[in-house]
């Protein structure tokens, strides 16, 4: 009797819940567990509860006793959510589908006709959801792990049975950790630049939500981004992570996209736009519409891409509590994640001094009469002279513009040095001497770039094609370029890199390949972004030499020996509050990070302080000759580089940074706090603390004094 009563109760509640949450006075983030949720997995640290009707989750952090919600169960009075948004907030995931006119609409599990199959398994559950009216099926697999949960949507589980409706976007657990207005203090973290925080408030300065595509836009779909040299684009999202802190020092979570980031987007909604909730989530793109021009006048049709993007989605949520619940803790959790996967490895000990990146301009060509004249700016002998003159052993030299006819010409398939700069034997000697002294030597290479008026490639067979059968175009270092398809890229990279590694014993400084990801719609072989990503990873893993990258995405971290041009701030959005060194903390102790060239800095003092604060090593762009000589070439973006002018400054800034940063070289960052407005303290794993004072007045704490606009090292207290 009792059993039937309880069964009826449960059934009644289940039936009530299929209509979505009803407005009921409820607490903000209650720690109560509604009866609809059942325990599906448990381990020493966490307990995972799931709602079989909506696939919503709750995760109980046993250490802190905090219950994480994946969405809303009930609305509170004053919540500005209409039916569609309410369903969006309560369902585990929602999708956007495209009809045959390429118009998209959003539907969620709880407000549409679904066939839901919920299967608890050991460690979690599997679910299969079919949106019956549209014939779209997705499979979801949630597992409890040691440090959190993992959510997977395998590509094989996706079916689109009705040809009129295609799966557009998947919103995965969009309201995970959402907070109402300013009820919970804390912030959201987005990986913009070095990382930036959005405080949880009731109102915001933002007019629309923030959305960013991981790894930048797909040139295979849009063909080209409008090029305007007068503006600086916002930073590309290089790390597929997001996070939220509920009470600094109390609870936080970090979501890392392990697979599927190439088609992932980050959407962040501060409270006050559309809804009164703060939430951020990952969305994944399966099909997009695009504009296909059918004649030269520009008229055309909007069509949906023919093939659905095939990729697996795997997102890991890591939960942090106590001292770890800060952005520093999140960065360290991300670092642990990368170490666990073998992506980051401890480097060899090396010199006790910090590194210095010196990028040398070999030369460029200028048009004289009918032919191109090479203007040598730094020959190999001059390079050696400068390095010896500076007397810094741990120097990372990058040679840019080494190819015949300089920086704006395509390097060939085999290694050939421009005659006026020297010969290969000289270059080899210089490289070996540098490496023997404790430094590094690399040649600059952009394997993806096919310069628009360059020679040495076939525009029919070697270039990638976008979905509209045009050549994707881009810009890098003032050169307009097309992009190679993977077959051509692989051939050229393999032969050139083999030459560089074997003939010179030097490394490669790779631009483009770690940063720009595009899909290729060539008829011969279609490569979507995910396939391109894996192909790049495989190709780079074969390299037998040292590789350094310019602002790379996370998928090349596994082969990266140095990070160049690391962002030292964020993109300056009005609705973000504070730039944080998430990226630097995640890489600290494992990969040396070098900042952008300091020649181009408008305020050298400020930038140096930021280098010290973030633990980043300095970089300079140098040439032996005066910069005036290349003003009529394509390298005129290097508006100052002469060693005669910059030599003393290089030596002085290196000495200053080395004094403070050498004692913490190779150490992880364990804590970061603000001692006063404009005064930051970063604690490293060996107990040393660097205090940076950005203010024009000195800072003192007891006997410890830091001068105005200066930094000091002291023994801190390990947390």
């Amino acid at each position: 009797m009792k059993r039937i009563f309880y069964l009826l109760l449960v059934l009644g509640m289940l039936s009530g819940l299929t209509g979505g949450p009803r407005p009921v006075a409820a607490a903000a983030l209650s720690q109560d567990l509604p009866p609809a949720y059942r325990l599906v997995a448990e381990n020493t640290r966490f307990a995972l509860y799931a709602n079989p009707e909506t696939l919503a989750l709750k995760v109980l952090d046993k250490q802190s006793g905090y219950l994480w919600h994946s969405g809303l169960d009930e609305l509170a009075p004053g919540d500005r959510l209409n039916k569609s948004w309410a369903a969006f907030a309560s369902s585990g995931f929602s999708i956007e589908y495209l009809d045959n006119k390429a118009i998209n609409r959003r539907i969620s599990i709880s407000n549409s006709n679904c066939d839901l199959r919920f299967t608890p398994v050991a460690g979690g559950f599997d679910a299969e959801v079919t949106f019956v009216d549209f014939g779209i099926t997705l499979g979801l697999q949630v597992r409890l792990e040691e440090s959190g949960i993992s959510v997977q949507v395998p590509a094989a589980s996706i079916r689109q049975e009705i040809p009129d409706f295609r799966l557009g976007l998947l919103y995965l657990y969009p309201f995970f950790g959402a907070t109402r207005g300013d009820e919970v203090p804390g912030y959201m973290f987005i990986p913009d630049g070095s990382g930036t925080l959005i405080q949880l408030r009731a109102t915001t300065k933002a007019k629309t939500m923030f959305y960013g595509k991981y790894y930048g836009p797909d040139l295979g779909m849009i063909t080209a981004l409008p090029h305007n040299p007068a503006i600086r684009r916002p930073y590309r999202l290089t790390l597929p992570v997001l996070g939220m802190v509920h009470g600094e020092g109390q609870n936080a979570y970090l979501a890392v996209v392990a697979q599927g980031a190439s088609y992932g987007e980050l959407h962040a909604h501060p409270a006050g736009i559309i809804t009164n909730f703060n939430f951020l989530y990952n969305a994944f793109i399966y099909n997009e519409s695009y504009f296909q021009a059918t004649n030269r006048a520009g008229a055309g049709v909007t069509v949906i891409q023919p093939q659905t993007n095939a990729f697996d989605v795997e997102v890991h949520y890591r939960f942090l509590s106590g001292q770890e619940a800060t952005y520093t803790g999140m960065a360290r959790a991300y670092q642990r994640y990368l170490v666990e996967r073998g992506i980051l490895r401890r480097p060899a000990a090396g010199s006790p001094d910090i590194g210095l990146r010196l990028e040398f301009l070999g030369g460029d060509k200028e048009k004289v009469l009918f032919w191109q004249r090479m203007i040598p700016m730094t020959t190999v002998a001059q390079l050696q002279q400068i390095v010896t003159d500076l007397g810094i052993a741990n120097v990372e030299v990058v040679y840019y513009g080494w190819q015949p006819l300089g920086a704006s010409s395509m390097p060939g398939r085999s290694l050939r040095l421009e005659g006026q700069l020297g010969n290969l034997t000289e270059l080899r000697e210089v490289a070996q001497r540098l490496i023997a002294n404790g430094g590094q030597f690399s040649l600059y290479l952009d394997p993806q770039a096919a310069f628009v008026d360059g020679k040495g490639y076939s525009s029919g067979g070697d270039l990638a094609l976008s979905i509209t059968r045009a050549h994707p175009q881009g810009y890098n270092r003032n050169m307009p370029l097309y992009y190679f398809n993977f077959a051509a890229l692989q051939k050229r990279y393999r032969s050139l890199s083999a030459d560089v590694f074997s003939q010179l014993g030097a490394g490669l400084a790779l631009d483009g390949i770690g940063a720009v990801l595009y899909s290729d719609f060539s008829e011969r072989q279609v490569f979507n972004r995910e396939q391109t990503l894996r192909a790049y990873q495989q190709l780079l893993a074969e390299s037998e030499g040292r590789l350094a990258f310019y602002t790379p995405n996370d998928y090349v971290f596994g082969v990266m020996s140095a990070y160049y041009d690391i962002p030292l701030g964020d993109s300056g959005y009005l609705f973000t509050d504070q730039a944080v060194p998430f990226l630097q903390i995640a890489l600290a102790g494992y990969v040396p990070c070098y900042g952008p060239a300091l020649n181009f800095s408008a305020d050298l003092e400020e930038d140096l302080l930021r280098h010290i604060d973030y633990g980043v090593y300095p970089s300079y762009f140098l040439s032996y000759e005066v910069t005036g000589k290349i003003l009529n070439t394509r390298s005129d973006w290097i508006y100052t580089s002469s060693y005669a002018q910059w030599g003393p400054i290089v030596a002085e800034t290196y000495a200053r940074l080395n004094r403070v940063l050498a004692p913490v070289k190779g150490q992880e960052i364990v804590a970061r706090e603000q001692l006063a407005p404009g005064v930051w303290a970063t604690t490293y794993a060996n107990g040393k603390q660097i205090v940076v004072n950005f203010n024009p007045e000195p800072f003192s704490s007891g006997a410890f004094v830091v001068n105005a606009r200066d930094a000091a090292l002291r023994d801190g207290v390990l947390p």
């Binding site: 007068a230 600086r232 030269r296 048009k367 004289v368 030292l568 993109s571 609705f575 305020d603 100052t640």
Partner: protein, 674 residues
């Protein structure tokens, strides 16, 4: 105002503004910064200003801004019909509520009096510091104002003598000047209307009624204005040539602002006390100049929905206050504040000294600026002036060359040449005297002993060579041109081979001349600017067309010349160019701008002589009378033009055909693929 008061007010201002100014954000600005470099192009440079903050204001569509020395911001809140005073991050006072309609222009004098231009009531309102309305001026009644002229005040400025300068919308006569009593004093600073060839042709051929249908060609009216420390008026005019948009007027009304890169859509201009001019345009770009017209920096970015700090959506006013730029954005209803960087501070320090003539004191600052940016033209200009003042003419010469200042280069060159001449004049004279003595002695001796006889015999033999004969034939044209053409016609002298050689030499010497002409006289600053292909193709085309057209026209007009005659004749008539173009170019290297007459005269002489030879050639080769010659030449020129036009038409047709075929193939490919 007493000095103490000024200091106190400035301190107060700095404190209150400091409250408004946050620390620089940790982000690269959303724009890149450009500076003027060689060849009038803009080059990238370090950021001069970084965005500090965006302050939301309780206003609606604010159109003007004024910051007083004590740091108070007065904002014309157009949408709400009032002027607000904003200080220390809050609204301190409100003026004109209920009185003003749509205030669009604002000026505050030192004693706190507000002058407001109201678009709603088309009047000027004057309030005192407490907010009491003092005066209201409507349309001036003086007959000088014009019977049909409208008074639509939009912007106002007040000079030291309390005269009002008012921008009246659509006023083609310039800025309206009123005195403090509201009497119309006059118009000032009108723009000029531009005349184009099309308009001239229209006026020649169309009737009165047809002309009346067109929009009147009136001068554009200025859109905004500002007064500097010396009460000189600056205006910006939207919709005109971007290089002439900013004007600076003397008391006499003459524009002394040189042509400088600018924008067509300037919205506001501000001239600071230390001579820096800032202007903002509709695209969110900010231009900064020195008051002598040199462009320093260009930066800024429009807000395209990205919501980043430092982007502008619809800027309406700009003002500099203590090294920061305050820009009012009427779309965002906010104030965007840009702070100066170290780099720009150094540039400004150097510029301040330079503008006042302290060239030597400015030198170390500009040397440092060159470390930052090797292409900063202003730096080279200032250094060149400093070297010149110090008497270091050699370094001044190189610096002027970099700065592309031909006048300065010429002056430095003159000084250098002067010193060299003075040093070497006496030895030179001595050498000349010795040479002439030697020459007369030598000639006399030679006549006696005939030393040069073998040379003479050799010369006679060489002269028999065909090519040498042809070359020497060229010199005959100097004295007997008509006769020599007759010789060509009769196949007595001159050959086709040598004619081609002359053509080639003319083109080569022209090209060499372009390279070898001194910087002072050359239109190109560096050799890389010379487009060699065009310089070669153009003469070849001209020569080929002339020969073809001339011969063809002659066959119709009973000319006697054969093709051979025309080709050889034209070649020999180009002999002034062949002989003298290169020497003139070489000569220009020892001339300065003071002797520009010599250079210009010789060049013109050579061209005129060539023209004359061509006329004589046509007359002689085809055996025409003078009238027939002229007719033939005109028809030849017309035929050449027709050739070019036909070629162009064919080119256009063929590209159309090509486009058409390509798009058909593309469409087929797409449809088949689908």
């Amino acid at each position: 105002m007493s000095r103490l008061k000024v200091i106190c007010l400035t301190l107060l201002g700095m404190i209150s503004i400091a409250l408004l100014l946050p620390a620089p954000a940790a982000a690269d600005p959303p724009y890149t910064t450009w500076a003027l470099g060689p060849q009038g192009r803009l080059y990238r440079t370090q950021d001069a200003y970084v965005p500090l903050a965006e302050v939301d204001l309780p206003v609606s569509n604010p159109e003007d801004l004024f910051i007083t020395p004590d740091g108070a911001l007065y904002i014309a809140d157009t949408g709400n019909g009032r002027v607000i005073k904003w200080q220390g991050d809050e609204l301190v006072a409100e003026y004109g509520k209920g009185v003003l309609g749509n205030p669009t222009g604002l000026f505050v004098t030192d004693d706190g009096t507000l002058y407001v231009a109201d678009a709603g009531h088309n009047a000027i309102f004057i309030f005192d510091a407490a907010g009491t309305l003092l005066h209201q001026f409507g349309r001036p009644t003086e007959p000088l104002f014009g019977k049909r002229a409208e008074f639509l005040p939009r912007k106002v400025a007040v000079d030291a003598r309390r005269n009002l300068y008012i921008i009246s919308e659509g006023s083609v006569n310039g800025v309206v000047q009123l005195n403090l009593a509201g009497n119309f004093i006059g118009y000032f600073g009108a723009n000029t209307a531009t005349m184009s060839l099309k308009m001239i042709l229209q006026r020649m051929f169309l009737t009165e009624e047809q002309l009346a249908q067109f929009i009147k060609n009136e001068a554009a009216s200025p859109s905004n204005l500002d007064l500097d420390q010396r009460s000189l008026l600056y205006t910006v005019t939207a919709g005109t040539d971007p290089t002439r948009s900013i004007r600076k007027f003397t008391i006499a009304g003459k524009n002394i602002f040189p042509d400088a890169p600018g924008s067509m859509t300037f919205r506001d201009i501000d001239v600071s006390a230390d001579g820096l001019v800032a202007a903002v345009d509709a695209n969110g770009q900010i231009y900064e100049y020195v008051e002598n017209g040199t462009l320093l920096f260009v930066f800024g970015a429009p807000d395209q929905g990205e919501q980043r700090l430092g982007t502008l959506r619809s800027p309406s006013a700009i003002q500099r206050y203590q090294d920061s730029l305050y820009v009012l954005d009427k779309d965002k209803n906010a104030l965007v504040i840009f702070g100066i960087t170290d780099f720009a501070r150094k540039v400004h320090q150097g510029v301040r000294l330079y503008v006042e003539g302290f060239y030597t004191e400015a030198e170390p600052y500009f040397n440092e600026v060159l470390t930052y940016n090797g292409s900063f033209l202003m730096a080279y200009q200032a250094l060149a002036d400093a070297y010149f003042k110090q008497g270091d003419y050699r370094r001044a010469l190189t610096a002027y060359h970099y700065a592309e200042d031909r006048k300065g280069y010429s002056q430095a060159f003159w000084e250098l040449r002067n010193t060299i001449l003075q040093q070497s004049l006496s030895p030179f004279l001595l050498a000349m005297v010795a040479l002439s003595i030697g020459r007369s002695v030598g000639v006399r001796l030679e006549r006696r002993y005939r030393w040069f006889d073998p040379v003479r015999a050799w010369w006679e033999r060489v002269r028999q060579q065909k090519w040498v004969d042809d070359a020497l034939f060229m010199f005959r044209f100097i004295k007997q041109p008509a006769d020599s053409f007759y010789y060509i016609k009769k196949d007595l002298r001159g050959s086709l081979g040598f004619a081609i050689a002359i053509y080639v030499w003319v083109i080569v010497s022209r090209l060499l001349g372009l390279y070898l002409t001194s910087f002072v006289f050359s239109p190109y600053a560096t050799p890389s600017e010379i487009h060699a292909e065009i310089e070669i193709l153009l003469p070849v085309l001209l020569i080929g067309l002339w020969n073809a057209a001339n011969y063809l026209v002659a066959t119709i007009q009973d000319g006697e010349g054969r093709v051979r005659d025309v080709v050889i004749g034209t070649a020999y008539s180009l002999f002034p160019l062949a002989l003298f173009a290169l020497p003139i170019a070489l000569l220009s290297n020892v001339l300065s701008l003071n002797e520009i007459f010599v250079y210009n005269f010789s060049t013109s002489l050579v061209w005129a002589w060539t023209g004359l030879m061509l006329v004589i050639m046509v007359m002689e080769i085809h055996n025409y009378s003078f009238k027939e010659t002229l007719k033939s030449i005109l028809v030849t020129l017309f035929t050449m033009a027709m050739f070019v036009l036909t070629a162009y038409i064919f080119y256009v047709l063929f590209t159309q055909l090509y486009d058409f075929v390509v798009s058909i193939i593309q469409e087929i490919g797409l449809r088949v693929a689908r």
